[in-house]
């Protein structure tokens, strides 16, 4: 009896962190890190937080490198990187969690990569061309590129990737259909035995024709494509038969800087340097990804069990504890995503813009965000990362600082009248909000009490209920929610079509504005970055005024590494794992 109930009790507690990270970083494309300089730049723009003092952000250098634990120093040719337990799907085409992705990026590489300003840069392909009509993409594979078995990376391998990703039996999370490759549908749902639009020009050149292109096509065809050796994965491959590909999840092979030697589920992943790596052999011979848990991440660094950890939550306590260690460098970067409160626009009470604005003005967001992050997150007024080139000019946006009087006035204008019982009524109905809080979630812990109090002052009854995370998502997918706190992960491209267009795939709140629709369509069709920025500026000004969701915060991420290592390349749209070959032991 005891064992069962206690474990049950802990269940939800301990997955708290897991859930939180799962909901903020669900997407393959999501990127976590930002650049240090950009950070400091961002810092000067920030105003003093109302609720409390701002904490130092960006990079905190180790104060005393001599404190590196002896046990870590002994590992002269090995680095141990702490990550949350990977699931063992080491194939980009099929993986689920970013922890698997770290291992994947050590072993395999993508066709194109992304620079720190989100622009596309060469990966396995040294260059690419787009035809006049914008419908044909040619990729030229670097002649030096070869797999760890010494065989060259060829157009054949890239073509194999496209075919697997569009295979009728493919059930991974890459959604290549969005790229609209010519003949892709015929291959997936028809009788075609190959994709018409994919042509191998020569061993190093591949050409892809699409039916229609937009600003994200290059990312979908290049940056989202990890190239795996066909001679290894493609044995007996025929359309509809992915059995062999799927059997190799734990024995990956690719062109990356490391070779997977052994995967011990629940414990560690051991890799050795790929001496033939085409960009030059990595500097550290052995790499171990060690599973760590929230409870002991910092202690692991302290005792020297790990040299690095990518999964530590940013809050005042953790930063303080890490700083105390002395030998740990802290790299804090704005997370490419944001937290928000979803509003169901199907409900009549939320259809008036003034009501939604009142919900923004009437909630002390600064206090909520500070209580949750102790200064390691920034209050936002627009749903875009401050680091993206698509982030609008703030001077043209409304800043919704806490102003209950203004909120009351807006509600008054919208026809919600205060009555004797202290609540507002319209057409005889009291203004109540049913809030679905996913659990366990630290933001909700701070948000609910403050919102109850703040909205009560406006005359709104805020009724919170708690639900398990999937239940909240499910409720919202069905459109049965009223309000719910959620976090969104953004992609490399700033395009918010999926979120705010009437037909957007992630627009689960039924938000619809014809002008926004028009602008978002135009933004996707435009290829010139400056022109797109202008279009998105206009769109974000409307969104900032319309309040499709209550904007909350953009938080920070943390990479902590021992000063015995150097060379980490951490940029906003890339994980540290894409540049493992640069790391060295001092």
């Amino acid at each position: 009896m005891k064992k069962r109930s206690i474990s049950l009790f802990i269940c939800s507690l301990l997955t708290g962190a897991l859930l939180l990270s799962a909901c903020t970083q669900p997407a393959a494309q999501q990127t976590e890190q930002s650049q240090q300089e950009q950070n400091q730049q961002g810092q000067s723009q920030q105003e003093q937080n109302q609720a409390g003092e701002k904490k130092e952000l960006g990079f905190i250098k180790a104060t005393d490198p001599s404190k590196v634990p002896e046990s870590a120093k002994k590992r002269t040719d090995t680095m141990v990187l702490g990550i949350t337990d990977p699931q063992g799907i080491f194939n980009f085409w099929f993986y689920n969690t970013i922890y698997d992705r770290y291992v994947i990026e050590a072993v395999t590489e993508r066709l194109l990569s992304v620079a720190k300003d989100a622009s596309v840069i060469p990966g396995l392909a040294e260059k690419w061309e787009v035809s006049e009509d914008g419908l044909t993409y040619s990729f030229y594979i670097d002649k030096r590129a070869k797999f760890s078995d010494g065989k060259p990376v060829t157009a054949e391998d890239v073509s194999f990737a496209y075919h697997v990703l569009l295979d009728p039996k493919y059930d991974g999370r890459t959604n290549l259909s969005k790229a609209k490759i010519k003949g892709g549908e015929a291959y997936k749902n028809g009788n075609a035995s190959s994709i018409e639009g994919v042509k191998i020009i020569d061993p190093q050149t591949i050409q892809v024709q699409v039916e229609e292109a937009n600003a994200t096509t290059l990312l979908l065809l290049g940056a989202e494509i990890f190239v795996l050796p066909k001679h290894y994965y493609g044995q007996n491959y025929a359309k509809g038969n992915l059995a062999h590909v799927k059997s190799l999840h734990q024995k990956p092979m690719g062109s990356g800087p490391y070779i997977l030697k052994e995967f011990i589920p629940g414990q560690e992943v051991r890799l050795v340097a790929n001496e033939n790596y085409w960009k030059g052999a990595p500097k550290v011979k052995n790499l171990i990804f060690k599973s760590t848990t929230d409870e002991t991440q910092i202690q692991s660094l302290k005792t020297g069990a790990t040299d690095f950890d990518a999964s530590i939550t940013v809050n005042a306590d953790n930063v303080e504890a890490l700083k105390e260690l002395g030998f740990v460098n802290l790299d804090m970067l704005l997370n490419n995503g944001y937290g928000y409160i979803a509003i169901n626009h199907k409900l009549p009470k939320f259809q008036d813009k003034r009501v939604r604005q009142a919900l923004m003005y009437g909630l002390n967001r600064e206090e909520v965000v500070y209580a949750y992050s102790q200064g390691y997150a920034e209050v936002i007024d627009v749903p875009q990362s401050k680091l993206s080139w698509g982030y609008p000019d703030e001077s043209k946006l409304t800043k919704y600082t806490y102003d209950p009087e203004k909120a009351k006035q807006l509600l008054e204008e919208a026809g919600w009248k205060l009555e004797g019982d202290g609540y507002r009524y319209k057409d005889g109905k009291r203004f109540t909000i049913q809030f679905s809080a996913s659990t366990p979630n630290e933001v909700n812990d701070a948000l609910i009490p403050i919102a109850v109090e703040n909205y009560k002052e406006l005359g709104i009854e805020f009724i919170a209920e708690q639900l398990e995370f999937n239940a909240v998502i499910d409720k919202r997918d069905k459109g049965e929610h009223e309000m719910a706190f959620l976090a969104m992960g953004l992609s490399t491209d700033p395009d918010p079509y999926g979120l705010f267009h009437t037909n957007g795939g992630s627009n689960k709140d039924s938000y619809s504005n014809p002008k926004v629709d028009e602008l978002l369509e135009a933004g996707l069709k435009e290829f010139d970055q400056a022109k797109r920025k202008a279009i998105y500026q206009e769109a974000y000004e409307i969104i900032n005024d319309e309040i499709p969701v209550v904007f909350m915060y953009q938080r920070y991420n943390l990479n902590a590494y021992s000063s015995r290592l150097s060379g980490f390349v951490i940029s906003p749209y890339k994980y540290f794992s894409e540049s493992l070959n640069e790391i060295q032991i001092n």
Partner: protein, 321 residues
């Protein structure tokens, strides 16, 4: 006896069918499936999600999904874990034995210590020793177990570094044979100590209570009156009878040997099945969860049959009809 066994085995068939329906319903009624969280993916579209649902047969009517699942189960096919993209059986196989290793050691220690502590507490009811044991037992119960885990880690792994800070083997270990065994034992020590301390409480209470009952019975008095030595009275006459009700308790713990201890596994970073199943619940890995649950149902049934058989043997007064 044979008759009882046969009857119970026949009875377990409807039990298993009922359990399978219930297990299936519970998991399909829970909101969401493994794609729910994927739908938050920036590149995902509803059409793509529907496609993947169809590939996994999730668009079929419930009864068909059930029949497919149970049909596969009967042929020994537990399906593929959507979280690990591996056959359910191999996921269970990898992690369950790690959990079993800890659980079996804990079980032995727990019953050995609990019986001694519990019996001594009963023999000296209301003594200082008894009160201290009572207090300790309830303290372990009033504070969630992660506190004990954290406390152990702080002292023995961080401050004094006697034991490693979690895991099952040293990082990058290439040991084999006895050296490897010793390495595992060192990693195993802290979780075993914590789990034993936590589990000992309830068994101790039951031992104490039963012993208190038994030593007041007439036959114990008679034995004493006959001038038998106290030790003989306690261990030969009283203990045997005090143990009877505990057979049931013991049987109830058998499935627990295989189900893993979630908190302890997490805090000590032990690669056990508890953590895997927990992730499965929150990420809706239904094939894994349903397969594992059915395994537990079978174990529970077997354990209870064993308990009833043992009970019949140990206590001839119980007529098994």
């Amino acid at each position: 006896m044979k008759q009882l066994l046969i009857r119970r085995l026949i009875q377990s068939i409807p039990t298993l069918i009922g359990a399978s329906i219930l297990v299936f319903l519970v998991f399909t009624l829970a909101p969401g499936d493994f794609l729910t969280q994927m739908s938050a993916d920036a590149n995902m579209t509803q059409e793509r999600i529907d496609e993947i649902r169809a590939l996994h047969g999730l668009d079929q009517p419930l009864y068909k999904q059930y029949l497919t699942w149970i049909g596969n189960l009967l042929t020994g096919n537990f399906g593929e874990s959507v979280l690990h993209r591996q056959p359910v059986t191999s996921v269970i196989h990898i992690f369950m034995w790690n959990s079993f290793l800890i659980a079996i050691i804990v079980l032995v220690l727990q019953w050995m210590i609990a019986s001694i502590v519990g019996i001594l507490a009963a023999l000296r009811q209301y003594s200082i020793y008894d009160s201290a044991v009572t207090l300790l037992v309830f303290m372990a119960m009033s504070f969630p177990s992660f506190f004990l885990g954290l406390l152990m880690l702080k002292f023995f792994a961080v401050d004094y570094q006697i034991f490693p800070l979690g895991g099952m083997r040293s990082t990058g270990s290439t040991l084999s044979g006895w050296a490897d065994f010793w390495d595992v034992m060192k990693h195993l020590a802290l979780p075993v100590i914590v789990l034993t301390m936590l589990n000992i409480g309830s068994v101790t209470r039951y031992f104490r209570t039963n012993m208190l009952e038994v030593i007041r019975q007439d036959y114990v008095r008679t034995a004493r009156a006959k001038g038998l030595k106290e030790r003989v009275v306690i261990f030969k006459h009283a203990l045997r009878n005090a143990l009877l009700p505990l057979i049931t308790l013991f049987a109830l713990e058998i499935p627990g040997l295989f189900s893993g201890a979630i908190i302890t596994e997490r805090i000590f970073n032990w690669p056990g099945i508890g953590r895997v199943v927990l992730d499965g619940i929150f990420q809706r890995d239904y094939p894994l969860l349903m397969g594992f649950t059915m395994l537990l149902v079978v174990l529970t049934i077997v354990a209870n049959i064993l308990a009833d058989l043992m009970y019949g043997v140990a206590d001839p007064r119980v007529r098994n009809r």
